[in-house]
């Protein structure tokens, strides 16, 4: 049990270390890309820091869409042969770019908020439909077997 308890913690620590290691490597190898990612994925970073729920679903939601918003700029940066810190800074601090990146992160957060009520409604509707169907079947059985069915059900508890 203790081993099983420690396992996720270890994996999480490993995952955190690998992210930091990747970030350090990226910082050393491709600083413009690192700057773009760091600035662009700032909402995800905040979400990962503050979301302490199991599985960090909210952080994942925010990160997925946030990354979708950052990915075009990273690609654009990579298409530019110089890949300078200045180019990266200039690109990243454009209002439109920031809006797209952070807007996408916001959409991720909205998705996280909107999805549970939608699922709840779907489940409720499905349950109601099932209840209606079962009641209809029961009425059919009573029609076929009469009151003796109810008596037998009551008798057998």
């Amino acid at each position: 049990m203790a081993a099983r308890g420690r396992k996720p913690k270890g994996r999480s620590a490993f995952s955190g270390l690998s992210v930091i290691a990747s970030a350090v490597l990226l910082f050393m190898v491709a600083l413009p890309t690192f700057i773009t990612l760091t600035v662009g994925l700032l909402p995800s970073l905040v979400a990962f820091i503050f979301d302490r729920s199991p599985g960090r679903m909210m952080a994942r939601c925010v990160f997925g869409l946030n990354f979708s918003g950052v990915a075009p700029y990273i690609l654009e940066l990579w298409q530019d042969g110089a890949q300078t810190v200045g180019g990266a800074t200039q690109q990243i601090f454009q209002p439109l770019a920031l809006s797209i990146m952070y807007g996408a992160a916001g959409l991720g957060w909205l998705l996280y908020l909107a999805m549970p009520p939608i699922v709840a409604n779907v489940l409720n509707l499905s349950a109601q439909r099932r209840v209606t169907e079962l009641r209809k079947n029961q009425r059919g059985l009573i029609k076929t077997w009469g009151d003796s069915l109810i008596k037998e059900v009551d008798r057998s508890g």
């Binding site: 599985g55 679903m57 909210m58 994942r60 939601c61 925010v62 990160f63 997925g64 869409l65 990354f67 979708s68 990915a71 075009p72 690609l75 298409q79 991720g108 998705l111 996280y112 909107a114 999805m115 549970p116 009520p117 939608i118 699922v119 709840a120 409604n121 779907v122 489940l123 409720n124 349950a127 099932r130 209840v131 079962l134 009641r135 079947n137 029961q138 059985l141 009573i142 029609k143 076929t144 077997w145 009469g146 003796s148 069915l149 037998e152 059900v153 057998s156």
Partner: protein
């Protein structure tokens, strides 16, 4: 014989009786046929008005003239009527109408019907028919008229039979009858002088009259009964043995020799007292003057010890003129001093037994305080009986709370200790063990009810009687095994058992006493459904066609085992099983014995099938059955009606489908409950699933975006 001949004959009879005045009908209603003093009432018989009004009815092969009495052929308690044989022109027949509230003797009717036996009146046929005088059905026996008329004529006097001729004219033919019956294990039990007819007009050989119209020994005057059986009630005297018939033969010879009934001036109690105190032969010899030639056979046949009593060998020897061994007149041991019960002194055990039975309440004290035991030991020197008495008293001490009942059992057992070959006597009930059936029948049909019989069986008195019998006797063994069944029947309270079952199992010719069909005199199972068919015309809607009597009657008479149906009838509150059991029983009877068409009964049964239809759970099946019932009822076939509700394959299918339906309904109910009660859990799940779905969707969008960008870059 045609009707004209009958009229002529009736006219002759009218002339014969023209001097008699008044009339005194003896059995003009059921139950009127109590044992009669035939000689005393013979005048009355002759005085009956004889009409030739021509009222007649056809019964089987005979035409019976209901207003044409033949008093000279009355036998025992039964009346004779003129009858024509429609099949045969020669011969003279007459009809003997039996009392419907007394059972006839099945085995004798079966054996004697259509058989000519020298020395016995010819029983031509028997039939059950509506007798207008009774207003109900009864058994009618048809006999060939004896050519010579009664030996004892109606005035009570005897037509002369020479003393020298008695051997050839009386003993030989009667021996022949008793021998023939004995070979079949039957007894006559109606051997008496008043039941003798001359076989020819010249007054030659005699023939014995009817013996099948009532319980064995029922019509016998008390003096004709052995000391063992005379204490029993007339209906409970029992089938007896050949030895009892030989005793009656001895008394018949005495009556014929004396010219009147022996001890006729005495009351029954006096006859019993004198026979017990002196022995049968001495009692007759001391009061009557027997011709010298008759002393030897009468002494031999009236010997009170059945082992010593003359049999056929001794009679043959006497007929051949050889001397036989002398028998002791009285084998009963007489005590040196008396035992007093209620102011009367008794010197023999048999007399004391009778005294105890007659003084049921007062006899308890001398029995309980050991006076009788001391009398047996010291007065009579009978240590065996004294020991048995002491044992019986010891058992009284072990009795529980029901002291009174234990005291009554003590009295009954004491009687059996004193007189082990006598009848079982219990608080007024007095019947031989082989006469229980007829006694019960008499009690039930004459207002005494079955309680006395039930008490005797419940208190297990007959078991004590069996225990007191000495030596091995196949007859006692047979009675004992039959008795075990009786106890079982009495102990069961449900329909098909009880005293009714005892009655029908013991008395083969007992007609069914169900109030619905009693008037129809149903003796055979084949008559049952036609009688019910008739009853169904005027039956109330809520009455069941099978009551306790009919259930017991079917259980006894039907060849098939109906214990299953009787078990189902144990619980009348379970209407489905109860009605199914009843319909099943009736259907089995119809299947076995017909008739094919019983419309009224079918409609009656159909009305009562409502609960039985509930055997099906499916509404569609029930509706189908309910639609079918009236159609089948119209066809009058109970078997089809029963099959309709007892289609085993259909029932099994219905049952298994019903079980499945119940399971399906229960599962649905439980699922609905789960769905309706799982709202918060569902919200929690929706939260979780929604978040997971959002995360998944977000991840997928990211992957798609990156993939699309890469593809755009490449192409």
């Amino acid at each position: 014989m045609n009707i004209g001949t009958m009229a002529e004959q009736a006219e002759d009879q009218k002339q014969d009786v023209s001097n008699d005045a008044g009339q005194k009908p003896e059995m003009d209603k059921p139950g009127g046929g109590a044992p009669v003093d035939e000689t005393a009432d013979a005048n009355a018989n002759r005085e009956e008005e004889i009409s030739t009004g021509g009222k007649n009815l056809e019964i089987g092969n005979f035409r019976v003239f209901t207003d044409l009495r033949l008093p000279e052929f009355d036998m025992g308690h039964c009346k004779a009527y003129a009858a024509d044989n429609l099949r045969r022109s020669e011969g003279n027949a007459f009809a003997l109408v039996t009392d419907p509230v007394l059972p006839t003797r099945y085995d004798l009717i079966k054996f004697l019907s259509g058989v000519h036996m020298a020395g016995q009146i010819d029983l031509l046929d028997s039939a059950i028919a509506h007798w207008p005088i009774f207003g109900r059905k009864t058994m009618v026996l048809f006999f060939e008229k004896p050519k010579g008329g009664h030996v004892i004529v109606s005035s009570g006097k005897q037509r002369s039979i020479n003393e020298q001729d008695i051997a050839a004219s009386v003993v030989e033919p009667l021996m022949n009858v008793l021998q023939a019956l004995g070979e079949k294990g039957l007894t006559h039990r109606a051997v008496r002088a008043t039941n003798l007819f001359f076989g020819d007009p010249e007054g030659g050989k005699v023939i014995l009259g009817d013996c099948a119209s009532g319980p064995p020994g029922y019509d016998q005057p008390l003096v004709y009964e052995t000391t063992a059986r005379m204490a029993a009630d007339p209906a409970g005297r029992g089938v007896g043995t050949l030895s009892d018939d030989l005793y009656a033969l001895g008394m018949t010879l005495a009556e014929l020799a004396i010219g009147r009934r022996p001890l006729a001036s005495m009351t029954d109690q006096e006859i019993m007292d004198i026979k017990l105190s002196k022995g049968s032969f001495q009692a007759i010899a001391s009061q009557e003057k027997l011709p010298l030639i008759m002393i030897e056979p009468v002494r031999g046949l009236l010997c009170d010890d059945p082992e010593e009593r003359w049999g056929f060998a001794e009679l043959h020897a006497w007929l051949d003129g050889r001397r036989t061994k002398p028998v002791q007149g009285n084998t009963e041991k007489r005590a040196a001093r008396s035992q007093n019960i209620s102011g009367k002194d008794y010197y023999t055990v048999r007399a004391l037994a009778q005294g105890v039975a007659k003084n049921w309440v007062n006899a308890l004290t001398p029995l309980r305080d050991g006076t009788v035991e001391i009398w047996l030991r010291r007065g009579l020197g009978d240590n065996d009986r004294a020991k048995a008495m002491a044992d019986a008293m010891r058992q009284l001490q072990w009795a529980g709370a029901d002291k009174r009942s234990a005291e009554e059992v003590l009295v009954a057992r004491s009687i059996l200790i004193l007189d082990p070959s006598g009848p079982v006597r219990y608080k007024g009930f007095s019947a031989m063990v082989d006469g229980f059936g007829n006694m019960l029948s008499y009690d039930v049909q004459h207002g005494s009810g079955p309680q006395r019989f039930s008490d005797v069986i419940v208190r297990d008195i007959p078991a004590f009687w069996f225990g007191r019998q000495e030596g091995y006797s196949p007859e006692v063994q047979r009675l004992q095994s039959a008795y075990k069944n009786l106890r079982y029947y009495i102990q069961q309270k449900s329909a098909g058992y009880g005293y009714e079952r005892c009655l029908y199992s013991m008395v083969r010719n007992q007609h069914c006493l169900s109030p619905m069909i009693e008037q129809e005199y149903v003796v055979d199972i084949a008559q049952l459904l036609p009688a019910l068919e008739k009853a169904a015309e005027n039956v109330s809607d809520d009455a069941w066609p099978v009551d306790r009597h009919i259930a017991a009657f079917i259980a006894t008479r039907l060849e098939d085992d109906v214990e299953g149906q009787l078990m189902a009838m144990q619980n009348p509150s379970d209407e489905v099983e109860y009605s199914r059991a009843i319909i099943s029983m009736l259907a089995v009877v119809q299947w076995r014995h017909g008739p094919d068409n019983l419309q009224n009964l079918s409609h009656w049964v159909a009305r009562l099938m409502e609960p039985a239809v509930k055997v099906f759970h499916s509404k569609a099946r029930r509706e189908r059955v309910e639609t079918e019932i009236p159609k089948l009822a119209k066809r009058g076939n109970l078997v089809e009606l029963y099959n309709l509700i007892n289609d085993e394959q259909e029932r099994r299918k219905d049952q298994s489908e019903f079980v499945e339906a119940v399971a399906e309904y229960s599962e649905a109910e439980s699922e609905v409950f789960d769905l309706e009660s799982s709202g918060p859990a569902r919200l929690e799940m929706a939260e979780k699933v929604g978040q997971q779905a959002a995360a998944f969707a977000s991840t997928m969008i990211a992957l798609l975006t990156v993939s699309a960008l890469f593809l755009m870059h490449i192409f």
